[in-house]
């Protein structure tokens, strides 16, 4: 199973490390020909406006949209969640997303870095043990459309993890806490998609 990690900017090495630990072959994706080789893709944390700009400048944005439409499993964390959202609130001037998730995501929803935090979250789909989640200048899902399903919410009810078919997105960063269950969950989607085509 070959899983790509979008490597334009951000903490792509942390995702690659988790995926390798779980037995996947990892390809760092910066070009369309690299994207064409993968069975699934992770879009890491980072600065979504920078990823968007580089994806467009190097001809990767349209192939990414086509791959999502064709059913490629994709998991996005933080900036990656923003990239997968159909609607981005508070983006920079001219910011575009790849889309695919029927959600509206608000960038920097908590404010400046001093409002970044870690906390435990219940994520029923991953089992009983809570997920220790790190939110770094994180986005939240303002609106979950009818196609998408919320997987986790903060105590105040704001949605921070969503799923829709083969797409998965989290506001937080399992890749930097040693939490592997989201990646395992995603790899099972990739395996099923490979089987079904």
């Amino acid at each position: 199973m070959t899983v790509g990690v979008l490597a334009l900017q951000g903490d792509f090495r942390e995702h690659a490390q988790v995926l390798r630990t779980l037995g996947a072959d990892v390809v760092l994706v910066r070009r369309p020909e690299e994207l064409a080789r993968v069975d699934g893709l992770v879009i890491p944390g980072g600065e979504s406006s920078v990823m968007d700009k580089l994806a467009r400048a190097f001809g990767l944005a349209d192939p990414l949209r086509a791959a999502v439409r064709a059913g490629l499993p994709v998991y996005g964390t933080c900036a990656g969640l923003i990239m997968l959202a159909d609607t981005v609130v508070d983006g920079i001037r001219g910011q575009e997303s790849i889309g695919g998730l029927d959600i509206s995501v608000r960038r920097n929803a908590f404010g400046s870095q001093t409002q970044s935090f870690e906390t435990d979250l219940d994520v029923p789909v991953l089992g009983e043990a809570p997920v220790h989640a790190v939110f770094i200048r994180a986005p939240v899902v303002d609106t979950v459309g009818p196609q998408a399903t919320a997987l986790a919410r903060l105590a105040d009810g704001r949605c921070v993890a969503v799923e829709q078919g083969r797409l998965l997105g989290t506001s937080f960063h399992p890749e930097i806490t040693g939490e592997h269950r989201f990646h395992e969950y995603f790899l099972s989607t990739v395996a099923a998609a490979r089987f079904l085509g």
């Binding site: 406006s49 920078v50 580089l54 001093t114 935090f117 906390t119 219940d122 809570p130």
Partner: protein, 300 residues
């Protein structure tokens, strides 16, 4: 679905170091006005450093260089949505308190400003906002991490456009990390003494082969090729200070450096983005600087 009621923890090491992780593979640009911050964000900067004068001007104008005017920092925070950093003088913990109160996302305890304390650095554990600090070698980096720095940048020689000091510092830090990895456990006690660094951090680095925080390069990066050079030497990202807004075409140069950092290992991309950028900053050769004017020798 059940909802959680657990406690939120702010200002932890993981949260502080995590923001630097998210900036990896990116370019942090010095800006002195909101208009420059806008150009930097549009060009794909992962963060901006808000300051009153770029290092090249601090160098040429002289005088005591201090924290920027809060109004300037406010105007830059209001202009962009990417993280905003700002500089405090070495040891000036009240400037740091002010910057935290202003809501900056990272504080640079920087040798580019005039040091406020020639003995102590800021106790960075006391803050919720994370700090980046400069270092010329591994021992200095570890002393800063021990004081709570959540990100390290090699110092280089700011405001020169001469990449040779940046080269020296990143090679020194990487070389010293490599050397630690080759030592046996009983040799690490003396290594810690020689580095003047905490033993526990030395042991950790010997085991992992890398710093426990993100390492950017700063000080003298002026071209896309300079930036790619630092990335090939193992930097996680680059700071560009005077190199962008002291050049002939800041917008084009900022764009080009961002692309060169992502495709640092692809000379054909670096060649293509290096075309038609206009004049690079004029610069000063570090070897022509008299020793008292070398900023990298501030801090210890």
């Amino acid at each position: 679905m059940t909802e959680t009621t657990s406690i939120e923890q702010f200002g932890s090491s993981r949260v502080k170091r995590g923001l630097a992780d998210m900036m990896k593979g990116g370019v942090i640009m010095d800006v002195v006005t909101a208009a420059q911050a806008r150009i930097a964000e549009d060009a794909g900067a992962v963060a901006v450093m808000a300051l009153e004068r770029v290092p090249a001007d601090i160098r040429s104008q002289g005088g005591v260089a201090r924290m920027s005017d809060p109004d300037l920092i406010d105007s830059i925070i209001a202009e962009v949505s990417i993280p905003v950093m700002a500089k405090a003088r070495i040891g000036h913990f009240v400037e740091a308190q002010v910057l935290q109160a202003l809501g900056v996302d990272y504080i640079d305890e920087s040798e580019v400003l005039s040091p406020a304390d020639y003995v102590n650095h800021i106790d960075k554990w006391k803050f919720d906002v994370p700090f980046v600090c400069g270092a010329t070698n591994l021992g200095e980096a570890l002393r800063r991490i021990n004081e709570g720095a959540a990100m390290i940048r090699s110092k280089g020689e700011a405001g020169t456009g001469d990449v040779s000091e940046a080269m020296k510092h990143i090679r020194t830090i990487k070389g010293e990390i490599g050397r630690l990895s080759s030592l046996s456990k009983d040799e690490l006690y003396v290594a810690a003494k020689d580095l003047q660094a905490p033993y526990e951090l030395v042991v950790e680095i010997a085991a992992t082969g890398k710093l426990p925080v993100v390492l950017f390069v700063a000080g003298g990066v002026a071209t896309p090729a300079d930036a790619a050079l630092m990335m090939q030497l193992g930097a996680d990202g680059v700071f560009v200070g005077s190199g962008i807004f002291k050049s002939g075409n800041p917008q084009a140069r900022a764009n080009a450096i961002v692309k060169a950092v992502t495709f640092y290992d692809d000379p054909s991309v670096i060649a293509s983005v290096s075309r038609g950028l206009g004049e690079a900053m004029v610069g000063i050769n570090v070897s022509d600087l008299p020793a008292p004017h070398r900023l990298s020798e501030r801090g210890w």
